[in-house]
């Protein structure tokens, strides 16, 4: 690992100030992604700003929903009573991610900020427009089994690897951000971005900003939820395809529905059109199949990931069936 300087900060303001003075520096919280990337030479910050002492470790119920600090570790969110009772989709998605050890280290903010697991991004001998703009995309013509089928560009077909983020996108969460110019918030679904011509940017966080936390609005997605994750082994692997499905049923009728997919795009992929179609419909496998067809419009595969064009709609149907009970 290329050496770096290290600063420990204890307030959000200090964190922002130190980063402003060290534009090539980086925040570090759990470190599970950043240290891995630094060991591989994918990134080499000049200074690590350790934010683990910042007061962003609370999970609180508010008047409008739930507030989770950026530094709450993944396992604490997953095990939290309120999360388990009122936001079970989030708990289920978190449990599907990583290993018990990593969930004890990885924070909510870090999970949101984690980089793609595209092997071309991780291998510094390979071209990658995300790691080195202009060098080309190794995955486009390469071994792209894990890669995107929605929203990709000819510059990048990487996917966002998170499970937690898929649930947060489905639950209409908001990301709260602090920066040199004050505080702002952004809808979770607008936080991450598509690669376009600038795949180096994973998200819309501006230089010098820090994630303070996320909020989730209150909802009735308690009983009929499911997070389906399809992967190469039973546990501890990144998703080939994942589906977060949340239904609010009135008898046999879909009163409200949320659907989001992981492993298919550069950002958590919300299935808005399928949601519109399902709202007000009666629960049936045929209806879910139609919704999946709608969701798959515009999908495009790149060779090794052709199987995702079949796996994704099947996963949508299965997740909805499991959610419907």
């Amino acid at each position: 690992m290329i050496n770096f300087e290290y600063t420990r900060v204890s307030s959000v303001k200090a964190a922002i100030d130190v980063l402003a003075k060290n534009p090539t520096g980086s925040f570090i919280a759990g470190g599970t992604n950043l240290i891995d990337l630094m060991k591989r030479g994918v990134t080499a910050p000049s200074r690590l700003i350790d934010i683990n002492n910042l007061p962003l470790k609370q999970i609180e119920e508010t008047k409008t929903g739930l507030s989770i600090g950026a530094l709450v570790i993944n396992s604490d969110v997953e095990e939290n009573d309120i999360v388990q009772k009122k936001y079970p989709l989030l708990a289920m998605a978190l449990k599907a991610g990583a290993s018990a050890q990593l969930r004890n280290m990885a924070t909510v903010g870090g999970n949101i900020m984690q980089r793609t697991r595209c092997t071309y991004f991780h291998d510094t001998a390979m071209p990658c427009n995300k790691r080195e703009p202009g060098s080309g995309c190794g995955a486009l013509q390469g071994y792209n089994r894990m890669h995107a089928i929605f929203g990709a560009s000819d510059k990048c077909i990487a996917v966002h690897p998170s499970d937690m983020c898929i649930a947060l996108a489905a639950l209409d969460a908001t990301v709260h951000i602090s920066g040199p110019k004050g505080e702002r918030k952004i809808l979770f679904t607008n936080f991450h971005r598509l690669p376009g011509d600038t795949p180096g940017k994973d998200n819309t966080l501006l230089k010098g900003e820090i994630i303070a936390g996320v909020t989730i609005p209150e909802n009735n997605f308690i009983k009929n939820i499911y997070y389906l994750k399809i992967r190469d082994r039973a546990s501890y692997a990144f998703a080939l395809v994942s589906v977060a499905a949340a239904l609010e049923l009135s008898g046999e009728t879909v009163k409200n529905v949320r659907l989001a997919m992981g492993g298919v795009a550069h950002k958590p992929w919300r299935l808005t059109e399928a949601e519109k179609f399902l709202t007000g419909k009666r629960v049936s496998k045929e209806t879910f199949i139609q919704a999946a067809e709608i969701a798959m419009k515009g999908a495009k595969a790149y060779g090794h990931n052709n199987f995702k064009l079949k796996m994704a709609p099947a996963a949508i149907v299965e997740a909805l069936m499991k959610a419907a009970g």
């Binding site: 050496n3 770096f4 300087e5 290290y6 240290i35 591989r40 990583a98 018990a100 050890q101 990593l102």
Partner: protein
């Protein structure tokens, strides 16, 4: 260039600067250093001084023993345990958080020590495989692994055992499926999984104090 640093270190102000800033500034002084025999001699200590500049004080408790040391920020907790404290029971497998061989407990929580910097564990209490037996009396999980033949080559075993103890303490060892799910961060290339799961279930049901 080793000589550069020595000269600049005579200026106390550099003690408060980072090494990169310091190198930038000192490059202008490089020419001065070349001719001076005294400084060339001093350059022998260069690496020591350079290392001193990069080190951060760390207070950490490992297996009940308090340590006060200076470490480079890039030293992982795993390397700190193995190279600084010579506690080589904790193993380096993949060094990328994929295998679990480096699992230790930090303030009671199991973590991958390869993905944590030592300096990020300031003030924490670390428990490694060396810290779980009571004198010559093995920990119940160690005994169960022996009884159930929960290993072949043994390389993953320290990580498996540390993870297994935490798995039970967390309340995630209620049946074999749950054990397998919550032990998935520990890879065993010999494939001793059935015996590892048996050992964990036995300890769970044995009502031991872990």
């Amino acid at each position: 260039m080793s000589k550069e640093k020595i000269i600049h270190c005579k200026n106390d102000s550099c003690l408060h600067e980072g090494r990169r800033d310091f190198l930038k500034k000192s490059s202008a002084l490089a020419a001065l250093a070349v001719a001076s025999p005294a400084i060339l001699k001093a350059a022998e200590d260069d690496e020591k001084i350079a290392a001193w500049f990069e080190k951060i004080p760390l207070q950490i408790e490992v297996n009940g023993i308090a340590h006060n040391l200076n470490v480079e920020p890039r030293v992982t907790l795993l390397d700190f345990l193995r190279e600084y404290l010579h506690l080589t029971g904790t193993k380096k497998g993949c060094d990328h958080g994929q295998c679990g061989a480096c699992t230790v407990h930090a303030d009671g929580k199991r973590i991958n020590s390869c993905l944590s910097l030592a300096v990020m564990n300031e003030g924490k209490k670390i428990t490694t495989i060396e810290g779980i037996a009571k004198g010559d009396k093995l920990h119940p999980m160690q005994e169960a692994f022996i009884r159930h033949d929960g290993f072949q080559c043994g390389y993953c075993t320290p990580g498996q055992i540390m993870s297994a103890i935490a798995c039970i303490k967390e309340g995630h060892a209620n049946n074999e499926d749950e054990v397998r799910e919550f032990m998935s961060g520990n890879i065993c290339r010999c494939g001793a999984y059935p015996n590892i799961a048996d050992a964990i279930i036995e300890v769970k049901n044995g009502g031991y104090e872990l």
